[in-house]
Assembly symmetry: C2
Homo-oligomer: 529 residues x 2
Amino acid sequence: MTHATTVWQANRSGGLTGAEALIETSLAAGVDVCFANPGTTEMPLVAALDSVAGTRAVLGLFEGVCTGAADGYARIAGRPAMTLLHLGPGFANGIANLHNARRAHSPVFNVIGDHASWHLVHDAPLTSDIVSLASPVSGWVGTAASGAGLAQLTARAIAAATAPPGCGATLIAPADFQQEVLTAPVDVELPDTRLRREVAAEVIDPIAERLRAGERAVLLLGGAALDERGQRAAARIAAATGAVLYSETFPAAAERGGGLPDLDRLPYFPEKAVEALAKAQLVVLAGALEPVSYFGYEGIPSLLAPPGTVEVLSTPEEDGALALEVLADRLGAPEPAARPRPDDEGLPDGALTPQAVGRIVSAMLPEHAIVSVEGGTCGYPFFTASSRAARHTALTNTGGAIGQGLPAAVGAAIAAPGRKVVALQSDGSAQYTIQSLWTMAREQLPVVTLIASNRAYNVLRTELGRHGQSRPGPNATALTSLDGPAFDWPALARGYGVPGTRVETGEALRRELGRALAADGPQLIEMAL
Amino acid sequence: MTHATTVWQANRSGGLTGAEALIETSLAAGVDVCFANPGTTEMPLVAALDSVAGTRAVLGLFEGVCTGAADGYARIAGRPAMTLLHLGPGFANGIANLHNARRAHSPVFNVIGDHASWHLVHDAPLTSDIVSLASPVSGWVGTAASGAGLAQLTARAIAAATAPPGCGATLIAPADFQQEVLTAPVDVELPDTRLRREVAAEVIDPIAERLRAGERAVLLLGGAALDERGQRAAARIAAATGAVLYSETFPAAAERGGGLPDLDRLPYFPEKAVEALAKAQLVVLAGALEPVSYFGYEGIPSLLAPPGTVEVLSTPEEDGALALEVLADRLGAPEPAARPRPDDEGLPDGALTPQAVGRIVSAMLPEHAIVSVEGGTCGYPFFTASSRAARHTALTNTGGAIGQGLPAAVGAAIAAPGRKVVALQSDGSAQYTIQSLWTMAREQLPVVTLIASNRAYNVLRTELGRHGQSRPGPNATALTSLDGPAFDWPALARGYGVPGTRVETGEALRRELGRALAADGPQLIEMAL
């Protein structure tokens, strides 16, 4: 990893403020989108977003919208956006989606304004321990101690965030240093393009040997290995050796459809996952972590692969796609024949079911769409159907912090102008960051939000059943039901400036989805299940 | 402080689970309301909320609703509610309002489910450093290490939370210990009623001396000293000595109106606060902390009172009302004559202004209403007008974390059945926890939400002006404006099942507020400014 050293200096009469130096450095490092919900202690930075040209500032009404958008942006753009958040409590509202970003290995650059350094000791009402809040979701945390330090630490934070596999980096920017007028040039070290490490032959060869020897193998792809190259190489290996392919259960961004391999996700519930891996003698990880149970259940192992079967072909830091290609070459595996896209057997009419939604959305996806999937109700059926869809990129909730899908759709749309975004979203999880709809409306983003409306936290009903509560009592019913009252989704959408409608049948979904995909700005469709 | 020791034991065949032991202990300590947004790792606790009778479980669609409601509940009920939140990310969504609760000295008992203890080492997707997240907003954090430990630590957490001045206490409850079936009785130490410490004569007498000697004094009341007794005693002192009375700027819960003293709040902006205190030779703190500037501004001192003038009559831990009574007695101060409630000079018609809103809402408040105030636009004018209102309790945003007003209204309504609650709320801040409206609808709470709709983060416009940005550029304009699109508040309310309407004039506000106050369940009125 090398760094380009750049001398950066004040470039206008009257000098640059620390806030302006931060923004100039950020732009020089290629960060030009800022998802912001600022307050008083960020006003110099807000002013600097105008005095230094080049950053697109996008307002979120709630901080979780900003951090989730930065995650979605990073997954599609492959580089960080900035978030600008207000002190400890404002940052805290963004933690849940930074948790997801951390699990997605998304590079995110967080800037938090803090009180003036000399004011902190007085413990004013908004003072809090920001480092303690930021550390669990940041690979790097730093606090600037001068105006020049804001520029230097900006470069360091962005370098930390963008080094593979990517992480959140959080810079705390005291208000006085934002305002400080710099009197001398500042040297900063800008991060170079960070390449993923190549996997050594000593790692690849023994795996090739075991595959050649006919061991029953599973290839589990994750992270960057889920791009087109990685998947095509994995398909060669599978065709040559009979290895079974899986994608990690919650990929950050997976290319899907358009003739790519029909890559199932490893099942979510541990019994099914254990079953899927039970016969393997060799479980090869390419960019994926060792599969573990999402939750711990009495009597079910945390580690899902049979003991002693796991071999790491590539870590998330490494170039997994290249490693898979080298492995396929070692095996002399030819390109498998292209899979013809099957004729559609006709789309389902009548009352909507999750399966019908999965098939209809898959069939109607425009080429190169981005699909942000949150919630199991329609998410799993969509994945079942969508390997036959047009080429698209699927984003999932990597960390399990709810309220990720709509903000990620916002960020993805900003990262990829010209691509349609579909947010396939469960009703319960949509509520955590519902304010995303307003940012879609303000920025006129081409996002079609599909709400799977079953008026329940269905996954919790299932989990209650696992705890022997097949007939939940009144409190458990109240805590897992979203009825009484049911949401009026078209009204909520309209409240935020997004045209919304409600459908109950396959015919209506096809008609409204066609109309929504043809529209320019955001649209919402409540799918009553 | 004494503790009652109670032997608690399994009371049904088959034994009690750790989760049931937690709920039984919590009920025995007087905690019988649970604001919850649970997930998989809290399912045994959710089941226990039914198998152990006596807790009212209230669902919030977002965790900040739950924690803000627990804060509002504590302010009115004077005792903790439980929050039940899901792992680190779910808890993180509740941090902002726990920050406010901490600044309000509200007793709050947080329960966070965590992974099964034996599963943690595998770093499953939802694993995070919960202690690091919880510590900044908790006076006490503990992790149970057994099923019996859940009961014991519940008692200890509630004791910590309820010891004056009150704090948040956070119990981390691993899922396996929630499920563990207890085989032997468990002893727990239940907290006794915690009395505030009495203030010693050695503290009171020197202050009495200086007041008698004619020093120009300001009495700054805060915390529990803002109850009726404290205010009446302070009014006696003021009448006898000429001392000027102020309330802290953001009281947790202040009794107002109905003939109580006309107690101004110390001004928010530091220049005004410095001016208010400039002539004082003695600034007496009764339950209030030393006043500090809300933010640090270049050239303005952080400490607002003249150096050397501050004397502490009572800390937030102490019985400030009693101290004020003793001080008034020392001074031989008689009861001042009751202030007649002035005739209303007629309420304003025509286009709504913040001043008109303040006067109309004050005049129409029903007896013993609770008013949850968040946002400056109508908040300050309401305080100016409301000393002449009927007796009511005013709640304010103590910690500056935005999104506090609507959840606090939810909690206050649940704490005080039979009292009307008015949430006087700015549009920008309402968006952070907008999901509160749904809980109001589900629980059919008598909350009238009044939205001060000016379609801007006006306080930030003011702050930009303080940074010399009297004409904000395009990014600063975008980041401080809520137009483009404007919210449709009646639609948002309807989306959550709350009847909503919009008014533009004083006549219309009087008519709609009268109708809303007469209704049974929640209502929302958008006040277009």
